[in-house]
Point group: C2
Chain length 200, copies 2
Amino acid sequence: MKRGLLIVVSGPSGCGKGTVLGSIVEEMGLCYSVSATTRSMREGEVDGVNYHYLTEEQFETLIAENKVLEYTTYCGNYYGTLRDEVEERRNNGQDVLLEIEVVGAANVKRLCPDAVLIFIAPPSVGELERRLRKRGTETDDVIASRVAEAEREIHCASQYDYLVVNGALEKAVSDVRSIINAERISASNKDEIISEVLNS
Amino acid sequence: MKRGLLIVVSGPSGCGKGTVLGSIVEEMGLCYSVSATTRSMREGEVDGVNYHYLTEEQFETLIAENKVLEYTTYCGNYYGTLRDEVEERRNNGQDVLLEIEVVGAANVKRLCPDAVLIFIAPPSVGELERRLRKRGTETDDVIASRVAEAEREIHCASQYDYLVVNGALEKAVSDVRSIINAERISASNKDEIISEVLNS
């Protein structure tokens, strides 16, 4: 069984990350991991399907044991990605996709050096601002803070394995597709393939 | 100016390497380097266009100085790739393609660790033999020796960055295209791109 890839994608809000990934997740057979959280289970939610539900003590113990690849807090609750969850999927040959911000991505790379880090950038900060305004859902203050946050994130893009500029959507989709395809070939078990070629 | 890639492709005779590369060289704007040789210039040939013509002493001095990336001898003459020739093209932003055998490829990787090594394998040795027979140009002895040579080369494929199996031509072409595209993105000057995104 070939071990799956761990693909980490970051990019500022408004860079078109969701649209790019939406075009390839199903086509390329990528999967998302189920996150862990300390917030209470809501009606209709199922443990292990919507989230892995943990107590704060459990979550913090896992963090201390380097068993949480990345996490964040929101409204007083932890949300994060469990190392065992990701490892199990990869060992089953699944390519796991994480959409996370830059601090989390750096932590994943520290704990899983073979993770493939892709940063999706807007063609320019001006264009990002236009895209955010076009949505028409945010106040000027929120947009200004989003733009400042985007600039901070874009500075971190040099730490990524790949930097894809999303100017034209089709080109960005094709670039991400190429990266994942090339990483799959690079990570394939060469000895196994060689043995198949020689003995079949 | 972005520095170009050095792409090294190997694969046994009959693996379809020429057909695969023929489909992408022009489309992707790759270039071949001009080889050096110690054989005499023939009528109509131009120094620096067909080959760089060198004396045996010149060639051997360059080998001793690690200025020949890879070479072979044929009918008592040297044929090889000059490091300066490749460096100049790469510094001009050109992606240079070398089609060479496995010993030469290992030598290129030693002298240029950032070279991208791609091995193209037939789906099976049996299929390779069928393809060689289909050409109808070789005796059984020649085919047997080609197959033995192919097996020796395929064993070396584990040393390559990428192993592409040429079962269906379109798939192999698409794989090599992905690899070169991903390597271009990976090798791009991230700081320059970040600065463009932030300041435009």
